[in-house]
């Protein structure tokens, strides 16, 4: 088991919740009347990304050097991730300042596009060759699913009555896709190379993994039974995503763990 990287768990999950919330806000802006209190929604977006960025500083050995992480944009996905996270935070604060009763659609979509870029760059950062199981599109897919489900869940807090079915539909579909993906992927890894197989075995034996899967299943069940998103459900999903992300960092096996063994 490797380090749980708690600051990174907080940064990635909270930033993805913020991106998802902005994306769902943009979808609602483009599809009909504005929801309840758009300004409060953007305050939440700004708060989530702000908390995420603050948490990420605790991951660094020398947090005061964080601004220098922007210097290697040519090849380092981490530099691009930092740039896009900063840009997203600035756009979120701008949206808080300009939105009184309505959200500027241009600002909403600009924030969403930058946010999607942030998810892609985070997906690339955490898909290095050292982790064969996730040296592919899986991290970006996991992160996008977190953003969509958390965004639709928290978005239901701010959506008008007429837009609740839209949020519910996205929430339910996102949960179903996430649940299937998280159940299938470790089983696929079991048929891979040595390190990929070790990752599959570690995930399937991990409490983080099963808590995450159980929370996804429970959220989906509650959604089906209540035909909606109860106000507490996104908070439960957020806790499940935090557990799942801790497992992502702690239970994915590094190639160096098997040096001297068959690959």
């Amino acid at each position: 088991m490797q380090s749980m990287e708690f600051p990174l768990v907080l940064f990635t999950v909270l930033s993805q919740a913020a991106v998802g919330l902005a994306l769902m806000g943009a979808v609602r802006v483009s599809s009909g009347p504005q929801g309840r209190s758009p300004r409060r929604e953007w305050i939440m977006v700004a708060g989530l990304i702000g908390l995420g960025l603050l948490a990420s500083l605790f991951h660094l050995g020398h947090p005061t050097g964080a601004p220098r992480a922007l210097v290697h944009l040519s090849t380092a996905w981490l530099s691009r991730e930092v740039l896009l996270a900063g840009t997203f935070a600035v756009l979120a604060v701008l949206a808080v300042l300009v939105s009184k009763t309505e959200v500027n659609p241009v600002l909403a979509w600009a924030g969403s596009l930058v946010g999607l870029g942030l998810i892609l760059s985070a997906g690339m950062t955490y898909a290095p060759p050292a982790f064969p199981a996730v040296n592919n599109a899986l991290p970006a897919t996991f992160f996008l699913l977190s953003a969509v489900t958390l965004g639709a869940g928290f978005g239901s807090w701010f959506a008008s009555e007429s837009r609740q079915p839209l949020m519910g539909g996205i929430f339910g579909a996102g949960l179903l896709v996430a649940l299937v993906l998280y159940l299938v992927v470790p089983c696929v890894w079991l048929s891979g190379g040595a390190v990929m197989r070790m990752t599959g075995q570690t995930w399937l034996g991990s409490g983080f993994y099963w808590v995450h899967v159980a929370v996804l299943a429970a959220c989906l069940l509650v959604f089906r039974l209540t035909k909606g998103i109860p106000v507490w459900l996104p908070v439960l999903l957020l806790l499940g995503e935090l557990a799942g992300r801790a497992g992502f960092f702690a239970d994915t096996i590094h190639t160096a763990a098997n040096l001297g063994g068959l690959y």
Partner: protein, 186 residues
């Protein structure tokens, strides 16, 4: 091909004495638990004999180093004159991205400095005309230094069993495989 210094690990000669790893520690004095060079025994599936065979591994000074590519603060450089990948610790902010990303686990986290660090091929010794500390200390001559630009084709291999095959990064380390002892029956 440009000059590229590389470690040549002769597993036929290596006896797993850890002198190379100890010489590295004695020379650089990293904190406890921070190991730049390590000696790995080969699994029995690879070397099926009651005697063991070993790989002595540190940074592979790759042609296309992952650490250099992923570092957000440009703390890594690859020397033009000999291809050695150097970590400039004063630039490092301790994000751990190189540690996570190197498929060979070469960069390590120094909990005292709160920064990454790794084998530098003893480049300051190279500049003084000396061999790296690990090579100088090896009692059997199992660890040596070669220039890949001048290395004649022979029985060296780049990706032996027990060493991850990462063609994109193109590690410079070369290996001579251990032979199984011959059993003589009377």
């Amino acid at each position: 091909m440009k000059k590229q210094y590389a470690f040549l690990v002769d597993s036929e000669l290596c006896i797993g004495c850890f002198t190379c790893a100890m010489a590295c520690r004695n020379y650089y004095h990293p904190p406890e638990g921070v190991i730049w060079r390590q000696v790995y025994p080969l699994d029995e599936e690879i070397y099926p004999h009651r005697e063991r065979a070993f790989y002595s591994l540190a940074c592979n000074h790759c042609e296309n180093p992952t650490c250099l590519n992923v570092c957000p603060v440009e703390a890594y450089t690859k020397r033009e004159e000999d291809g050695v990948v150097v970590h400039h610790q004063e630039k490092c902010i301790g994000c751990g991205n190189c540690i996570r990303s190197c498929p060979y686990g070469a960069p390590k986290y120094n909990p005292v400095e709160k920064r990454a660090e790794k084998c530098s091929f003893c480049h300051e010794r190279l500049d003084a005309g000396l061999k790296p500390a690990c090579i100088q200390s090896c009692p059997t001559g199992a660890l040596s230094m070669v220039d890949l630009a001048e290395l004649e084709p022979g029985n060296q291999v780049q990706y032996p069993a027990g060493f991850p095959k990462m063609e994109d990064v193109n590690p410079s380390t070369r290996f001579i495989l251990p032979k199984l002892p011959r059993l003589v029956r009377r």
